[in-house]
Each structure stands twice: as C-alpha cells, then as structure tokens.
Amino acid sequence: MGTGDAGCGEGHKPPLAGIRETVVALASGLTSGLLIVAIFPGKALSTLMHQVLGLPGPGAGTGLVVGPYIMMVTFITFIFRRRRLVPFITASTAGISQALGSIYLGPGVLTAPAALPAIFCSLAAAAAVELVLGIARGLEDRWAFIAAALCGNLMLLGTYWMAVFPAIGRSVIWADAALIASLSAAMAVLLGVLPALMYMRLTMRRAGNG
C-alpha cells in the first residue's frame, strides 16, 4: 500500500483501477468535495475572494481554492492507489460533489442552471489530470504532478468561465482573466502539488523504515 504498489516497471502503464481502487477514489472524491462545501458554506468563498481579498471574478474561488484543493486530493489518492483512472474518478467525483453540494445544500454562488455545466467541467478537468498523468510517464513525479495540476486546474477554470458562470449570468473580462489564471496556476502548484509531494515523501519514508 502507499507509493509504488502498482508493481509496474519504468515507462509501463499501471493496471486499471479495480473495484477496491474505484471505491477508494469515489469515497475520497465524495468526502473531499462535500468537505470543502462544509468549510466554505453558502457564499463564504466568494466573500473571501471578492470582499476580503478584493480579487476580481468570477472564477477566483474556483481557480485559487476549489481547483487546487481537488488536485491535492486527487494526487494524494493517486499516490495511495496508483492505478489508471483513479485520478479521473477522484477528481470528477470531487468536482461534481463540490459543485452540486454548493448548489443544492445551501444558497451558494452557483444556482440550479449551473449544475449540468458544472458536471461537464469537472469531467473535463478530471480527464485533463488523468491524461497528463498518463502521458507524463517519462517525467519525475513532481513534474508530472505540477503539469497535471496546472492543466487540470486551468481546464477547470477555463471551462467554468465558458459554461458555468454564463449559466448564472456572469462572465469574465480579459484583464481579470489573466490575473485569475496566473494566480490559479500558482495556487495549483502551492496547494495542489506541494501537500501531495509531502505526503508522498512521508509514505516513502515510512515504507523505507518498514
């Protein structure tokens, strides 16, 4: 268990997620998605981003907090269970449960018309993460995670701008988009990758001690 239990050699694809890995990924995604809804109930995240930090919008909460958080959960779950489709299942479940939770569990920023686009965006971002982790077999973990976090988080942000925010009557302007995207990229690495790498180092150390 932990890192390196995939049992596959250098450059080879790991096996597909089995039932156990799928359950772990679903549980991880669902729990983490609902957890962030509980941490930022209602419009708390929007208030933090726009009123407290003074950041423009829309998308600051998604790109700076929600997306990187989903990346972190996805990578930690992937380190825990290295199987193909584990990142996709974890990220999509987390994204969908976070979006639907914020829509239906409280009067958040998103409203019912955004539900279907939000599902699509979560799937797109999850596909981006799975794809990058799959194609980056030749890279070291940290670079693969950084690439996946950047692609996944910016895919989530971009598709949210295209599909989710217009569904609730909002859109972003170029000047704000550049700032939000830049900060989102930085946060994807800081919040999405660093904790996952720390977790990986910890598990490797434990495995070494064992």
């Binding site: 799959g134 194609i135 980056a136 070291e140 910016l154 295209m162 217009p166 000047a175 988009a177």
Partner: protein, 406 residues
C-alpha cells in the same frame, strides 16, 4: 525503442500514439461544444463631458425629456464649501452641452428624491429635507416653468425607493432603511399620474428593499441590488429581481452581481439593462454591467466609468447616458459623466460576443497537454535507449518516474 532527436513533429506525434491526440481533440471539441454557453458583454464608451453643473451637487434626481435633461434638488456645495439642500431645477441641453438653472424651482429643498418623465411632465417625489425625515410630497414639473405641489400625497414618507415608468403607471419599490419606514420596504406603490393617485401593493418584494435601481422592459420591472436591514445593521444585496405588474409578483432572477452593492444606476438600452456605479462597503464603484433580460445573464463591461461613483441623477439621451451630481470619493462633483452605448462586433449564436477568455484558456491547456505528451514520450524514449545501451549518463532513470517504482 529509439527516438531520433531530429524527428519531425508529425513523426513524433505518430510515435506517441493516438491516445493523447485523441484526448486532446476530444477536449477541444468539448470546449467548443460548451462555447454556446455564452455570456453577454457590455459595450459602452465612458468619459467625462466638458459640461459642468453650476455647483457641486450630489443626491439629486434627473429625467430625460427629448434632447434635454432636468436635474432636481440634491445636496449642493456652495462656493464657500458649505453644504445645503437644493430646491433648484437645472436644465442640461445635449446639443449645446449647456447646463443652466431654471427660474422655476421646487417648492421644497430636498435630496435623494426620485423622478420620472411621463412624456410631458416630470414627477418628483421621495427624499428627505434638512431634518432627514422621509417625505410624502409630490411635485409635477411641466417645462418650461410650471410647478404643481401636493404636500402630503403618498401614504407614508419615502426615501431610497427605486422607480420605473411603464408608460401608464409608475411603480415605486421599497423604502429607506430608517426608523420611520418599517413595514413599508417590501411594498410596491403603483402611481397613476393621470389621476394622480397612489395605490400601495403590500409585501410584494421578497426582501426588505432600499437603494435599488429599476428598469422597465415593456413587460416587467427589473430591480438591481440594493440594501436590506438586519437586526444589527444593514446588508447590501447582489441580487436581481423581476416584478410583474400584471401578476403583481416579484421574484429573484438567477443572475447575481459578484459583489453586493446599492445605489446603482440602471437604464434600458437596446433591450438590455445597463447597471453602473453604486456603493458598497469599500466605497463607490466604477463598474458598468450589462444585464441581458432575455437570457438572464449579467456581464461586466470591459469599460468602466471614468471614476468610481454613485448617482441617482442620470438620464439617457439618444445612445448616451449622462450622469449628473455623482458622489465620488472626493465628495460631490460638478462634472457630467457620459457613457456612450454602441453595438459591438462579433457576436455568437445568441447574439452575444463569445466568452473568449474561457475558450482561450481551454485551448492553451490542450496545447500544453499535447506538448507535455510529446516531451514526456521523447524523454522516456531517450532514457530507454540509454538503459538499453547500458548507459548511466546522469540523466538516466532515477527511479522516480510516475510508473517507475515497483
């Protein structure tokens, strides 16, 4: 498998296999698919007019009457710097850009009044006098100088309400957050200038409302943002509400502003509402928002007011919005802000410009993924080649690849 460094891009892509390319194409196709979830974009050209009011003014009210706008009352800053309530009626002529004070005046000095133009006359009501008491008066001004006055017309004092003229009735929404107005902030007053008569429609608005702005689109009135009282203070609003005069219902729309605000201005232009300026907890705003009534979408214009401001005195003449007597961070101003609305170029299927920022970001990510794919596979192949040749040239397998640990 070896991979020559000087491969062509096509060769490398072919060697990389179809999966990354297929996924990239799928993602790009999906991105294009969702591009029909498009957002409207504002189109306006803000600036300051060379026209000046005869004195610095704030909290006035204005109506548009053809090529002329009339500005009523307000809080006037004298040349000595003192602040007094004004009973003046100012006339702004668009063709000459000249502002002059009429010989006729209001029968009372008032600020924070509201007004509308019924095609022949301006009706002025609401606001406070020097004792800060919400007023129940009604004034009718018929150019050039006829003024009629009803001292106690409305059933209760009004301040901070918004008004929309439908061509037959004027509807007044809410009331101020002040001690004299509990129980009236969810009311709508239907005012018939023909009689004249005011009828209260009680408890229609879903929240206690003050400081909103309103437009009439021919079917319904749309109310933008505002302020509502709390047990221990007030809360600004971010919502848009729709009042249906026929059904006498008022409901929240899905679109909301990204931040709360009150004392915005709102006008209807070319089937869309433009909501500009306003106040929030941090001061005045310079944003101009376009609300597409048909699609219930709100979009921030890429242009802004020349300075953050809130004003209740504005008038649209032709395709130009004139904002008078604005409140800015520097206090009252005598300048006249202009915002010229004009059609924008490329439009999507819904008649609105495509949200290119989101599309561009998705395309960048897809391109980045394709690049990562090529780079990673090339690096992987080189490493395999080194391993195959028994090489250990430093950049070989460090045992840390994603799939590298057994």
């Amino acid at each position: 498998m070896s991979m020559p460094i000087n491969d062509s891009l096509a060769q490398r892509a072919r060697r990389a296999g179809p999966a990354p390319a297929a996924m990239a194409v799928l993602l790009l196709a999906a991105a294009i698919l969702v591009a029909h979830f498009q957002a409207p974009a504002g189109a306006c050209d803000p600036g300051s007019s060379s026209s000046k009011l005869p004195f610095a003014l704030t909290d006035a009210t204005a109506v548009s009457a053809g090529d002329t706008a009339y500005i009523f009352g307000g809080s006037q800053t004298t040349s000595e710097g003192a602040t007094v309530l004004s009973s003046a009626i100012l006339s702004f002529d668009r063709t000459s850009s000249n502002v002059s004070q009429l010989s006729a005046g209001l029968p009372l000095a008032v600020k924070a009044a509201r007004s509308f133009w019924d095609g022949q006359s301006a009706w002025i009501f609401s606001g406070v006098n020097k004792t800060a008491t919400p007023l129940d008066y009604l004034v009718k001004f018929t150019p050039p100088d006829k003024v009629e006055y009803w001292e106690h017309f409305f059933p209760y004092g009004l301040k901070g309400c918004s008004v929309a003229w439908t061509g037959r009735y004027a509807y007044l929404f809410g009331n101020c957050v002040c001690t004299s107005s509990p129980g009236t902030r969810q009311n709508v007053i239907m005012f018939d200038p023909a009689t004249p008569n005011a009828t209260v429609i009680p408890n229609v608005i879903p929240v206690e409302l003050a400081g909103s702005s309103a437009v009439w689109d021919g079917k319904a009135v749309y109310l933008f943002a505002g302020r509502t009282p709390l047990a221990n203070g007030t809360a600004d609003l971010d919502c848009i509400m729709k009042f249906d005069p026929a059904a006498r219902t008022c409901v929240r729309m899905n679109a909301t502003f990204p931040s709360t605000r009150y004392s915005t201005g709102a006008i209807l232009n070319d089937g869309k509402a433009s909501v500009f300026g306003g106040d929030n907890s941090k001061g005045q705003l310079d944003e101009v928002w376009t609300y597409d009534i048909g699609s219930d979408r709100l979009a921030l214009s890429d242009k802004r007011l020349s300075t953050p401001m809130s004003s209740s005195s504005y008038a649209i003449i032709g395709d130009t919005l004139y904002i008078f007597a604005a409140k800015t961070s520097g206090g009252p101003t005598d300048s006249v802000e202009t915002v010229t609305f004009k059609a924008k170029g490329a439009a999507g299927p819904a008649g609105q410009p495509v949200n290119l920022a989101g599309l561009a970001l998705v395309v960048i990510v897809v391109v980045a993924m394709a690049s990562i794919s090529l780079y990673a596979r090339r690096k992987d192949a080189r490493r395999r080649e080194m391993n195959k040749n028994g090489g250990s040239h430093g950049h070989g397998n460090r045992g840390r690849g994603l799939r590298g640990r057994a």
